[in-house]
């Protein structure tokens, strides 16, 4: 009985937050699909997450360079050393809840890390990967 109550309480309080992240990410993926992207894959997203790209200042940059490979952990900015809160939706419920914010950081970080904007396909794959964390 207690366990059941607990589970109901947990569901009521946590479910909307999960749903939020999923909703925002799915809404964006729908937009990406309209732009020609398809079959979003967490596997591809994971692979791209750690892809090292040569930077003009002879250093290598990747998503994992700042965010790390274990997304439940905090990251640290390669250049500024600024701490970055975990990306995993499971430990950081604020992540992926705001479509405008997601797009803003995709633009900033794709340019900073890869020297170009990400394609709709790449962004969709990243979201798929992040949602699974």
């Amino acid at each position: 009985m207690t366990l059941r109550t607990l589970m109901i309480v947990a569901f009521v309080f946590l479910a909307p937050q999960w749903a939020n992240a999923t909703e925002a990410a799915r809404a964006l993926q729908k937009e990406y699909t309209a732009q020609g992207a398809k079959d979003f894959s967490a596997e591809t997203g994971k692979l791209k997450w750690s892809t090292q790209v040569q930077n003009s200042d002879s250093s290598k940059r990747s998503c994992s360079g700042c965010h790390g490979n274990d997304l439940a952990q905090k990251g640290k900015h390669l250049k500024t050393k600024r701490p970055i809160q975990p990306m995993a939706v499971s430990v950081n419920t604020k992540r992926l809840t705001d479509t405008k914010k997601i797009e803003k950081w995709f633009t900033r970080n794709c340019k900073w890390t890869w020297g170009r904007e990400c394609t709709a396909q790449e962004k969709g794959d990243f979201l798929e990967y992040l949602l699974a964390q």
């Binding site: 050393k81 803003k104 900033r108």
Partner: protein, 187 residues
């Protein structure tokens, strides 16, 4: 009594006649009459600025740098390489932030520390680091590397709020300083 009334009337009429300064509409006369509020720096009072800038670092009150510095920092191009990070903003958000910051930059403020910042910068200078302003440097010259750079909970002089416990209210008074891992700071 009559004299007092005349004085008040004169004050009020000047307050109506003087141009409004700053986003919160602080006129010259109002500033004259509110000593306590002008000791520090005007606190940040723009939600978008607080959210956007504050999501990565302490949201510095605009009154800590003059307009010419902010113009350098807040151009769309400059924000793409903002001290090593890309901090670009959507055009309309950038516009809102620029308008707010330019309206409240140091040389337009009556707050004491803004006045001191302006006084310590030459007209042709446009420092982009608050930590490079002579007044700010002078205020921190006694600090050792162990207190700042070597202090894992401070790291850099740019992390105002690491020691200034009321930095979010734009209060930087000595009494409010607590350096992590060090005893109470005394000037």
């Amino acid at each position: 009594m009559k004299k007092q009334l005349t004085f008040m009337a004169v004050l009020m009429s000047t307050s109506l006649a003087t141009p409004v300064i700053g986003a919160d509409g602080l006129s010259f006369t109002q500033w004259l009459m509110t000593f306590s509020r002008t000791k520090e720096v005007k606190p940040v009072n723009n939600q978008l600025y607080a959210d956007e800038c504050g999501s990565c670092h302490y949201a510095y009150p605009p009154g800590l740098l003059p307009n010419q510095s902010w113009e350098k920092l807040l151009s769309a191009q400059a924000l793409e390489d903002h001290f090593g990070e890309n901090a670009e903003l959507e055009p309309e958000d950038l516009k809102t932030i620029q308008t707010y910051v330019y309206k409240n930059s140091a040389e337009k403020s009556f707050y004491k520390r803004s006045r001191k910042v302006v006084k310590s910068i030459g007209d042709s200078e446009a420092p982009i680091r608050i930590t490079e302003i002579k007044y700010i440097k002078r205020k921190h010259h006694e600090l050792t590397d162990a207190m700042v750079k070597g202090n894992k909970d401070v790291n850099s002089l740019s992390n105002c709020n690491a020691c200034h416990t009321q930095a979010d209210k734009a209060v930087f008074d000595d009494d409010t300083v607590k350096i992590p891992h060090f005893k109470t700071w005394e000037d």
